[in-house]
Each structure stands twice: as structure tokens, then as C-alpha cells.
Subunit: 246 residues, 4 copies
């Protein structure tokens, strides 16, 4: 028995809003305090983002699966773990949540609600970075989903923590977050004109990892309940809950 | 069978004292060493606070639930997981613990036991920050409480680690800690006159999250034992213990 | 059936050696690289120490209990979880291990094997700091030992990570480590003449926490197997192992 | 029933590639942003590497055991947990993966695909550092493998996080990674001429730890399935999976 879709969409909205607020807000805070040392800004930004991800996936995982990311939702639908109808609700909830996160972050720091970013992020190195970042993110999700699903929140948070530093794009790896960050002329921003390139790379990266893991972990795509486990479906969590409560 | 209330109050007192000592003490240490780089001070303050929270919730969770926070205690009472009589013992224990923590931190660094803070923290952006910070904190607690209660110490610590950076108020999110920090004219301080605004925002944020999660996770409020699970009641922990020992 | 004492002593020796090597070595590395910013040195020192502690307790916990600390060993013996004969083997193994750790760290950085520290650490604020640091450490151990023993490695590591910053002494909290650090005239050092004050404060802090937790968690001292669980005895671990392997 | 070797080799290739990309890429990013503060560069490098390791071991552990390291593979073969034929497939997959990781990292940052490092790393202190680093790494693996196998990803990541700081060589501890880093004239590089010394020290360190743990944890070498557990064999993970799903 699935949770009501309205509750799941609310969870995706709230989770993505908090995720983007963490990304954008920590960038503003760090830039204000770091006295011009960009490494220190990115370090604070990284720690805030990684920690927020872990907390938010643990919080909303049992409600909606805690995707917060259209690339994850589409890959999940591709593997049959989510219907396309559900996915078509998830994606707008994530995008709206992300934009709300930007606005809330701005207001918390006394900035205008929205400001178009002028942060240039373009070129083949950035494209490759987003492809690799998203390939890795989906690899982590599919790799952990079968036998170590309880580890997903920690694995995803750890992966993004690393990827902020090892890609030249600082690893957006998320179309909804990319759109939301285009509306913030702060440290975490991205020029609106650069958004399509990022999203294209992200979707290709996610697709590539999904295909590789179809071969690498055979049977994954034919066992939807196992896949769901990775994202904290109600059924899987009820099991975990029972196990924890025994 | 509940633990004796005196033991639970002692746990709330001790835990809140250590939590505030960590917040205030690490601020003093970091400011002394950082040579004026405020981002570095906040980074050290963040790491110390997040790590202390994880350790203290793991330590005292099985005794008192490890609230250390009147906003959490009141929300818990609202959901029926704690009687109002118990809550009326918890809150003063937390406030006294917090003040003790400030004093101990000051003495460990050779400072006067108490000093009224002159750190201005006011205005609508700060109010919104504390509302959001507390909304998020209670979301994490309610979200993890049903199916992933073992994760609560890590989720709360990770959330506060992030929230220190993504709110302009550095996320106090705790009335007892706010009062205690008003007695410290150091990095972590807050002017006594700004305390009421912070506490108001915190209580509204906690209330809002509690109402949202009533709808988001139905049944949570009608299963007190499940709620307790989130905070490490004796019963729940005995179960976990049995499970771990098998 | 207990493990052979020789193996347990070897584990205490090796674990304490690695712990001290991490503390001393990371201090040397950080001081060489930080360009005079002491906050950055302590941050690197903190992260290395906390991470080493988690790894080492996970590694040696199932062999010897992973005390690496005479204050923990004596408190354990006081609670009947270890015989005094065993404790009298543990303590010298820890002290020798610690000294070996200092020597190895020095040699890894091309320094003389031993050098008496000239780092002054004295006065009542330092005494109070070590008392509080050790009180907190033993609180974490006793608090986690009954119902959340699997969390001990993480809780102890998180606690020390925080305590490095919230005490003015940077939380030695360990007589064997204190002795070993007196033989290193580097960032982590302590003047040999200041060692007795530190050790006294540490033992008092550990004793105080042990007495408080006798009252706070009644029954702890009368269930040695439960206490052992906290420190990873063979029996407890066999159980966990069985549970994990099912 | 073992997984197909081709899948396991692909997992070793992919995992080592991502690991090296994280090591090299984060070094480039950090050096570009840190304004000359080498401690900050190493801190970012450390956090990225540790986080990547945790995520990658969780991701690929259930497929190939997530060695990513010829020293680990050879030690595993020595203990009978892997056949020598399997090991002779693993090692080249790791080396090729590592080199691919360097190339991908370079391309993500707009650098030439390969550049021979000029970073001098030689002398007895470096040799001792690599011996100690690898001795510790294998100790962590063998120590966690029997009773706490679920902790291996976290323990290994925490250990390497610490070892980056407490060894003067920044703890390569991995022949495949060492070779890959010789092809990068960036922060993480090592002169090709210094590679043999590093690899020799790594293999001796791994061998020494393996022999010590044969005595320290008797029975480890005679229970291959238990050893495999540490590295996430299919059988072991199926068990964990069943346990998680109950």
C-alpha cells in the first residue's frame, strides 16, 4: 500500500526546498565570513550540503523516497520503481521546492527574494564534470540499493561531499537544484543561460549509470520492491521499522 | 515502566550542560586561535556542536530521550509522548543545565562565570532564520521517529551542522540554549534583549513542523510508543538492546 | 571464553600506538602546512584524531575492548567488567603503546625519536578542562554501553572531536596519551612537569562520571556482560556477528 | 555462487577510477582556491578522499568487495579469500581504473590528459610512512572483518582521513593509486621515479599487518567466508540484505 501521492509530493517539495536553502544559504554565509578565501567558502558549503543531505534523506526517505532530484526520479521510473504518472508529479514538486528554497535562503539573509545569477559555468570541462557527477550519484544509489539500503543516506551525502571538490562544476548533479540556483546571484549561483547544458549532462550521466548498473547488478530492474528499498518506500521501511522495533 | 523522573531530569540537565559548554567553549577556543577569520571560527564551532550533539544524544537518549531543548519537549508533550507534568520538569532542567554549561565553559577558559552578551541578533531575517531552523529540526525528529529511530542522533547532528551555515542566525533552534548563550559575551553570545524574539520564532517553527508532520505522517500522534521510540524511551531501547544482543 | 590476555594486550599496545601517532603526527603535519594559523592546525589535528579513534575502536574493539586509556580501564575494573589483574596488564601496554606512537610519528616526519615537550599546560582552568573532558568521555562510554553499544566507536570519536575545541586543554582525557605527548616537543606536546596535574584531573573526572552513572543507569555495575558489551568483548561481538551474519 | 568475474572487474575498475578522480580532482580544485594555504588544500583533499572512499565501498562492496587496491587484493589472496587467478584479474583492473581516474580528473579541470608528476617523495621517512599507513589500513580491514563487517566502509574511510595527516607521505597506501598519481603533475602527484619505493613499502606494510592479525585474530585465515564478509561478498551481502529486509 503506497502512501498518498499528495503526501509524497509534499515531502519532495519540502526536502528539495531545505536542500537548496542549505546550498544557497551556506554559500552566502560562508562568503560573508571567509575574508576572500574561496577554499574556505567551498569547504563550508560542502559540509553544510553533505550534512543537510544526510539529514533530509533520513527525514523524508520513508515518505517519498527522498529523491529531491528529477534525474533520480526519471531513472527510478525507467527502472519501473515509480510509475511515469508519479514521476510527472515528483518533478514539478522538486522544481517548485528548489525555487522556494532559494527564496527562503535569500530572505533569511536579508537579500531580495530572487536575483538572476551571473556566475558563468560553461564549456566542455563543466559538461564532463556534470556528466561524471551524475554518473557517480546514480552509481551510488543503484550500488547501495540492493544490499545496503540503510546506508543510502550516508553514501549519497558522502558522495556529494567528495564530488563538490573533485569536479570543476562543484557537482550540481540535480536539474531541480540547478534551476533553483540560477535564481541566486550568490556563491552557489549559475547563469540561467548555462542551465540547459548542465541539465543535459546530468540526464546523460544518470542514464549512463543506470544502463551500466543494469548489467553490473542484474535483476535490479526486475525487482521493483528491491529498488524501492533503496529509496525508502513504505513497504521497505515498514520492514526496517519492524526489525528495529523487535 | 518508565525510568524514575529524577534520573531523566538529571540526564536532561547534564546533556544540556555539555551541549552548551560545547557551543560556548568551542566559540571561545576558535576565536582565540583563528586570527580574525570568522569563517574558520564558525567552522570549528559547527564541527564541535554537531559532534557533541551526536555523542550526547547517543549517551542520554536511552535515559531521558535526549531532548536538551524545550521546543522539542513541548512538541513531544503536544503529541502525547510526554505528559505535561513531565514536560514541566524537563524544561527547567534544560534551562538550568544550559546556564551551568555556560558557566563551566567560561571557567574552563579562565573567564568570569557569567557575562551578559552584547552580540546583536535581531530583525526579521533573524526571526525567519530561527523559524526555519526550528521547523527543520522538528521535521527531522518527526520524520526519523517512525521508521529510522536509530538514525535520530546522526540526523539531528547533521541537520544542526548544516543549519549553522544556512541560516543567518546560525540556528540556535533551542530556547534553553538561547537563554544560556545570552549569559556569554563571547562568539556564541546573544544580547538578552534579543532572546524573546528568538524563542518566539523557535516555538512557532516547532509548532508548525509538528502540525505539518501530523498530516504528512498520519498515525504518528496516535502511537505514543512509536514517538517515544524516536527519543529513546526505556521501552524502545530495551527492544533495540535485545535486538542488538541476539 | 575470553581471548588470550597476550592478544588483548597486543591490541591495546597497537591501538594506543596508532592513536598517539595520529595525535602527534597530524599536529606536526598541520603545523608545517598551516602558515601560522593555529585554528587550522587544531582543526586538522581534531579531524585526524576523531577519525583515527573511530577506525581504531572499530578495529580493536572486538579483541581487547579498545580502551587505549588507563582511565577507561580503571573505571571498567571498578565496575567489575575487567579483573584488576587484567587491568594491571592493560595499563602498561597502553603506556608503552603511547610512547611507541610518539616515536613512530617523529620518525615518520624525520624528527628525533623523542624530545621533551616545552608546551606549558598548567593552572586551574586546565585542571578543570581535563576533569570535564574525562567526565564527559566516561559519561559517553557508560551512557552508550547498555543499549547502544554498537554506537560506542562513533560516540567516542564524536565526543573527542567536540572536546578538542570546548576545553582549554584540548581534551587529553587519557593518562597514557598524556605521558606519550610529554615526549614530543611539537604542537601536541605537554611539559613533563604538567603531566601529574593532567592525570590527576583525568582520574577524578573518570571516577566522578562512573559514580554518577551508577545512579543514573542502575544495574549497569551489576551486569558485567552488559558493560563488556560496550567495549566489544568476545562474547558480545560473537553475538553481534551472529546477528549480522543471519 | 560468485558473481561473474567480468562484473567484479568492472566494479574494481569503476571504483578505483572514481577514487583516483576524487584524490586528484580535489587536489586541483583545492590548490586553485586556497590562495597558497597548503593546510587548507590538504584538508579539502582529505575530506573529499575520505567521503569518496565511504561512498564507493558502500556502492561497490557487494559486487567486488571494493578493494580498489592491489595491496588489499594480494593480502586477501594470501588469506585464501580470493583465488590467485581472481587476484590476477583484480590488480590490472585497479591499475587501469586508477589511470582512467587521473585522466578524467584532468579533463574535468581542463588539463592535459596526463602529465608526469615532479613532486619529490623519497627518503626513509616517506618509506616508513607508507609502511605504517599500509600496516594500519590492513589492520583496520582485518580487525573489522570478523565481527563488524558492516562498519568496514566507515572504518576504512575514517582511517584514511586520519592517515592523510599523521604520515609525512599523506598515506597513499595503495599501489594502483600510487601509479595513477605519478601521471598527474598536480598537488596529489608523485614522481614516477619514487613509485617503486612507495609500492615496496606498501606491500611490506600490508604483509606485516596480515601476519600480525593471523596471530591476533586466530581462525580468520581458516574461514574464507568470514574474510569475504569484510569485503562484501555476494553471500555475505545476501545475508545482510535478508536481515535488513526482515
Amino acid at each position: 500500500m503506497k502512501k498518498l501521492l499528495s503526501r509524497r509530493l509534499a515531502a519532495e517539495f519540502l526536502g528539495t526546498a531545505f536542500l537548496v536553502a542549505a546550498v544557497v544559504g551556506s554559500g552566502v554565509m560562508a562568503e560573508r565570513l571567509a575574508g576572500g578565501n574561496v577554499a574556505l567558502v567551498l569547504l563550508a558549503n560542502t559540509i553544510a550540503t553533505g550534512a543537510a543531505l544526510a539529514a533530509l534523506i533520513l527525514t523524508f526517505g520513508s515518505i517519498s523516497g527522498a529523491h529531491f532530484n528529477p534525474a533520480v526520479t526519471l531513472a527510478d521510473a525507467l527502472e519501473g520503481a515509480l510509475t511515469w504518472a508519479e514521476a510527472s508529479g515528483y518533478v514539478p514538486a522538486q522544481i517548485l521546492g528548489g525555487i522556494t528554497g532559494t527564496i527562503v535562503a535569500h530572505l533569511m539573509f536579508g537579500l531580495p527574494a530572487i536575483s538572476l545569477s551571473q556566475h558563468i559555468r560553461s564549456g566542455p570541462a563543466q559538461f564532463l564534470s556534470e556528466f561524471v557527477a551524475s554518473f557517480g550519484l546514480l552509481s551510488v544509489i543503484w550500488g547501495c540499493s540492493r544490499s545496503r539500503s540503510i546506508a543510502v543516506p550516508f553514501a549519497v551525502a558522502a558522495y556529494i561531499t567528495a564530488a563538490y571538490w573533485f569536479t570543476s562544476s562543484t557537482s550540481f548533479a540535480n536539474p531541480a537544484v540547478t534551476i533553483a540556483r540560477s535564481l541566486s546571484d550568490t556563491f552557489a549561483g549559475i547563469r540561467p543561460i548555462d542551465v540547459p547544458l548542465f541539465i543535459t549532462a546530468q540526464l546523460f550521466g544518470a542514464l549512463a549509470a543506470t544502463l551500466v548498473f543494469r548489467w553490473l547488478v542484474p535483476g535490479l530492474d526486475r525487482e521493483p520492491s528491491k529498488v524501492l528499498l533503496a529509496h525508502g518506500s513504505e513497504i521497505a521501511n515498514a520492514e526496517i521499522s519492524k526489525s528495529a522495533a523487535r
